[in-house]
């Protein structure tokens, strides 16, 4: 990790010095993770590629602002998440609207019932499809913390740094996001409820 961080920093310096090949290498190193992150926000392959390209071009333009205090992938993730949220906003899905901010709305965080673990016979692709459909029901701020934690396995501190929020807010959002996710799965697929399985 240390080695990789040093290499990223070196590639950044070389890019700033005008070396196109170094920037290409930096993109190659992080493109898979950026694509994996962004596909939680857009389905269409062409749209996904456009978003990924936009993310890296924004990173290039802001490269001299990268101070190397956080890892490069955390930094590029932050740009990717913001690019995805801006994109959804343009398409009419506002991440946070003052009138329906899910963090200020009094909402139940305890969901009645629970979902069972996916059945062993269920195809991996089907499990992923159900989870993705449930994620799409969530407000963007909840979807983002779930994606960063559950798929990207980022530490709370990294998520907090990336989103510019406190660790306490990350905890609180994750708690609510998991409750919302569970509710969304139960709404879309009541058959996956633990109670339904017990019957």
């Amino acid at each position: 990790m240390e080695q990789e961080a040093a290499s990223d920093a070196a590639l950044v310096s070389e890019t700033l010095a005008g070396n196109q090949a170094s920037f290409q290498l930096l993109v190659e190193r992080h493109e898979s993770r950026v694509f994996a992150l962004l596909r939680h926000y857009v389905k269409n392959a062409a749209e996904l590629e456009d978003l990924a390209q936009e993310t890296f071009l924004k990173a290039y333009r802001r490269l001299d602002g990268f101070e190397g205090q956080s890892s490069f992938y955390t930094w590029i993730y932050r740009i990717g998440v913001n690019t995805a949220l801006d994109h959804l906003k343009k398409r009419g899905r506002s991440p946070i609207a003052s009138t329906d901010d899910p963090e200020v709305l009094a909402e139940p965080t305890q969901v009645e019932g629970r979902i069972a673990a996916p059945h062993a016979a269920l195809e991996r692709a089907e499990v992923a499809r159900v989870a993705q459909a449930a994620l799409e029901q969530l407000p963007e701020i909840f979807r983002t913390v779930l994606v960063l934690r559950e798929y990207e396995e980022l530490a709370y501190q990294d998520i907090a740094d990336m989103l510019g929020i406190s660790i306490g807010t990350v905890e609180s959002r994750l708690f609510r996001a998991r409750a919302r996710f569970k509710q969304a799965v139960l709404d879309l697929h009541p058959e996956y409820g633990a109670d339904a399985e017990d019957d």
Partner: protein, 171 residues
């Protein structure tokens, strides 16, 4: 520790985000509370839904195209290399062609603008010289007339009308 507090800590606990001072009391609570132990299992069940659909496929040549587009834009502060969303992605690789096309468009607009300004100026000059012919030998002054107020202009106009009236009466 009560069950409500324990419930909020289960997620961070399973995520490995609690220090020992926080995790210890939670573990003791879980040993004594079957309901919260069920909560832990429910949390583990939930997390098993988060699986990646399939390996990510990055389009071939993506990094090369992005690097080319980035460097074609010149200064990092300029957003010139950003390719419009509805532009085919293949065109991103051909980004250097765009500035030339934009340059031609600008030149055409400039020439058209210049032509229309010249035409308007010609018409104005013709109209002005037709109505304001100076007598031969009259002095040409480059300096402007002093600005008049509305009252002064009205007074001048009335004086001219009176002079014209007097001339007509003499005739």
């Amino acid at each position: 520790m009560n069950c409500n507090h324990a419930t909020t800590l289960i997620g961070p606990y399973l995520d490995g985000e609690l220090n020992e001072a926080q995790a210890g009391p939670l573990r003791r609570h879980l040993l004594a509370c079957a309901g919260c132990r069920t909560g832990v299992q429910a949390h583990k069940d939930l997390r098993r839904w988060f699986v990646e659909p399939e390996p990510v496929v990055v389009p071939a040549g993506f990094a090369a195209r992005v690097a080319q587009a980035a460097f074609a834009g010149g200064s990092r502060a300029e957003p010139a290399a950003e390719v419009p969303r509805d532009t085919p992605r293949v065109a991103a690789a051909a980004a250097p062609v765009e500035p030339a096309a934009r340059g031609e468009g600008r030149l055409l607009r400039f020439v058209l603008g210049l032509t229309s300004v010249a035409a308007a100026a010609t018409i104005m000059i013709v109209l002005f010289t037709r109505d304001n012919r100076l007598s031969e030998g009259a002095g040409l002054r480059a300096d402007e007339r002093p600005r008049l107020t509305m009252d002064q202009a009205v007074e001048e106009l009335e004086a001219l009308q009176r002079a014209e009236g007097a001339k007509a009466a003499r005739r």
